[in-house]
Symmetry: C2
Subunit: 476 residues, 2 copies
């Protein structure tokens, strides 16, 4: 036990320890998101001394709780799907239940200023557009099947796909306006960037990690948006943190520098320093770029960290007296290229008398609103909702949002992505340990890359890496 453990309190607002270089633990974890906390919890269970350093004043990373009309809501990651076995197993372990995302009724899509209802993954459009979009999605899935999501850079056509943007691919493979518009909406909704920003290999790796583009886009069936966690997904991190040893978490402790020697790793943070046998960096590569490593990280890792920016997303929830859309036979789902608010879905908490909608400002719409005050986003969201759902959407009773782009400890979301050339050149550096330094975080997952499930899996994998090197030591 380290001398500065105060034995105090709830991890969520725990004591801010000023660790000293003399303090030595078996494993230091940087980042108290789901990935880092899962790693820390697993290692703690094995009897190792673990300390978690977190830059923010809260745990959860890209999951985060908030309040709307007195109800707990998720301001970060919230959905889980049937194929996401790791996060579902973790929820079981933590005593968290899931319930299905509300999706009864027709969806809405705005094309050219007109809103149409539809069912299924592909909206009503011309027969030609339907065929065009259908063929494109089939082509994406076929290409993704040739990719191992754990190593997209090794795919037979990796060089070809990593040389073009998704926009380039769309121009080549989509021939109708409707299909292009739909694919752009899907790209923004899933990858939180514009199609011209992201490498096609990155897109295909993401699809491969989920199974298909329909699974990524869908609520129904195997869809990644199938279920929600009762009480909020943000509870995963809180409950993991509860399972750490007392005092094993320091909040408000951004890490400035890491010095690795033959005997250990010295981690310098805003509140002090500590020494560990092993270090797990559970941050997206873009945020690991904020730490000075000594000796320097290998060139490929340095390049990766400078070439894997976070997507652009702001998440918002709008509350209404009642879920009026349900009465109209609408599911609450709405999409549109014009935005700026969308995709949208029902987010009414079970048992609530009110109706909640959740939606996103993504890609260029996210950027346009990232520097503006919340009231501007609120007005824009309500205007978009009125276009989708009619005048009944004009009178919200509550609004809350989380500007992930402006948060310096996330710098965007949902996940890091890569422009052309990066994955084939530096992708291999994602998970390769550097001496005593190991890498976690949803970006390092080999399935469900960038999802909560990927964060859990990556934390477990990093914990296993470390545990193999540090056999469990029974402690008093």
């Amino acid at each position: 036990m380290s001398p500065d453990q105060t034995g105090a309190k709830a991890p969520l607002h725990g004591p801010e320890l000023s660790t000293k270089p003399g303090d030595r633990v078996d494993v230091c974890v940087i980042g108290a998101g789901v990935s880092g906390l899962r790693a820390a919890q697993r290692l703690t269970e094995r009897g190792l001394a673990v300390h978690v350093l977190e830059a923010r004043d809260r745990v959860g990373g890209r999951t985060m709780g908030g309040l709307l009309c007195g109800e707990a809501v998720d301001l970060g990651g919230q959905w889980v799907g049937p194929g996401q076995t790791r996060v579902l197993a973790l929820c079981d372990e933590l005593g968290l239940d899931t319930y299905p995302q509300y999706a009864e009724g027709r969806r809405l899509m705005e094309i050219d200023g007109r809103v149409r209802g539809y069912t299924g993954t592909v909206p009503r459009m011309s027969l030609l557009g339907l065929a065009d979009a259908g063929l494109a999605m089939r082509s994406l899935n076929r290409a993704a099947r040739s990719i191992d999501p754990a190593a997209p850079w090794d795919a037979p056509d990796a060089a070809i796909w990593d040389r073009i943007t998704m926009d380039q691919w769309m121009r080549r493979h989509l021939h109708t306006r409707g299909a292009r518009s739909l694919m752009k909406i899907i790209a923004r909704a899933i990858y939180t960037c514009e199609p011209h920003e992201i490498s096609m290999l990155c897109v295909l790796g993401s699809i491969a990690g989920a199974g298909s583009i329909e699974i990524q886009a869908e609520v129904h069936g195997e869809g990644a948006q199938h279920s929600r966690i009762r009480g909020g997904a943000f509870q995963i991190a809180a409950r993991l943190a509860d399972r750490l040893a007392p005092g094993a978490l320091t909040l408000n402790a951004p890490v400035h520098a890491v010095e690795q020697s033959e005997t250990g790793v010295l981690v310098r943070h805003a509140g002090g320093a500590l020494t560990a046998d092993r270090l797990i960096v559970a941050l997206p590569p873009a945020l690991a770029a904020g730490i000075h490593f000594q000796p320097a990280l290998p060139p490929a890792r340095l390049q990766l960290q400078a070439r894997m920016p976070m997507g652009s997303v702001i998440k918002a929830l709008v509350a209404y007296e009642r879920p009026f859309w349900r009465d109209r036979g609408w599911s609450g789902e709405a999409i549109g290229e014009q935005g700026p608010f969308g995709p949208v879905a029902d987010a009414t908490p079970p048992g609530s008398p009110h109706g909640f909608l959740v939606g996103f400002f993504v890609g260029e719409h996210g950027r346009a609103f990232a520097g503006l005050p919340e009231t501007a986003r609120r007005d824009a969201a309500v205007r978009s909702l009125c276009r989708y759902f009619g005048d009944e959407a004009a009178m919200p009773i509550g609004y809350v949002d989380k500007n992930w782009i402006a948060d310096p400890w996330s710098q965007g979301g949902y996940a890091g992505f890569t422009a052309p050339g990066t994955l084939t050149a530096c992708g291999r550096a994602l998970r390769v340990p550097r001496g005593r330094i190991h890498w976690a975080g949803a970006e390092t997952a080999t399935r469900w890359i960038g999802y909560i499930d990927g964060a859990v899996a990556a934390g477990e994998r990093a914990a296993e890496e470390v545990a193999e090197l540090l056999p469990p030591v029974p402690r008093e």
Copy 2:
């Protein structure tokens, strides 16, 4: 005075001050490259108290001196051209002379394993290839003329050009293999990345900042490689550092965090901290990402820092008993798509009995060799030189290189570049001050972006910004 001051002298290895939060200066400058030092020197001349913090154990940034066969050589930026009025004026001011780059005789280009001699900017190839390359260059220059290099994002067609990579543009505008090969070589040589990595708007902004693609590529006439600085370009930084106040430079002081308040800026670095009225960050955006700013930087600036990676370059010099290529009527210039070493040029110091060649591992060739030992690079360079210049190149008498990619305080070179989508979305954040924080560095230049000239101009501009806000105070 701090306990770690060694009493040692010359700014190049100057005293490392352990500044304290109580230490207050008018202006703190982060980065002792040409840009930061120019800003610091200008402000010092105005009577302001300036302190420069540098992460490395030397000044110069992306300029750097080295030794080869007892001669001082430039391991970083080295060339200046007639249009580069700011760096030429600065050389005058510092008492540094220039001399013309050796370029007499024929150039060599390797195509499909065969080496051919040529004169002029475009090598001998089929008539069709010549026309193809010529038209493409004209088209590039025409497009660049519609761009203000100070604000490429405002160009009428900015959105179109920022949506495609240079590779996409080449596929559309180049129809012969020879021209595509030449353009790829030029892209790598000038932008130090692969054509599929860089936004066409970034390319056109760079061309606009220089005047034309020929000026960027050329030695002759107005070419950016026209002249060298006698004794080495690295002397610019050393002489600027000499003009700072004694003790005004701290080496080995990477900055971890910057806290801005209404009364000043607190700068925390590895050796301590200091307070300033104004801060100039004279780093490429990718390296500014290594500093935690409080309050957080605006979203567009955060995004820019995560989306402007450094190019990939390793610079090497190879020494021979004599400049044998000159006897054969060759200028020493050689290019080839196959690489891995090239472009190559004569680097013989005036008056030396020996012959030096300088060359680069760039783009994917740079990455391939960044993680390998120097001997591997040496062997590869010599093999490439033998293909260009014949067996006489097989027996070098010396070799030295600088792996800029692996240097954590540069993370590549020559400069930062952007993938599609970044300049139009976040380019405006390049130079906009954030309260008391101002931005310098070659990436923020409005002409000769990424060149030494741009670094000088950006330092001068930042100094002017700050000086206007801090009138000179005569000091004892």
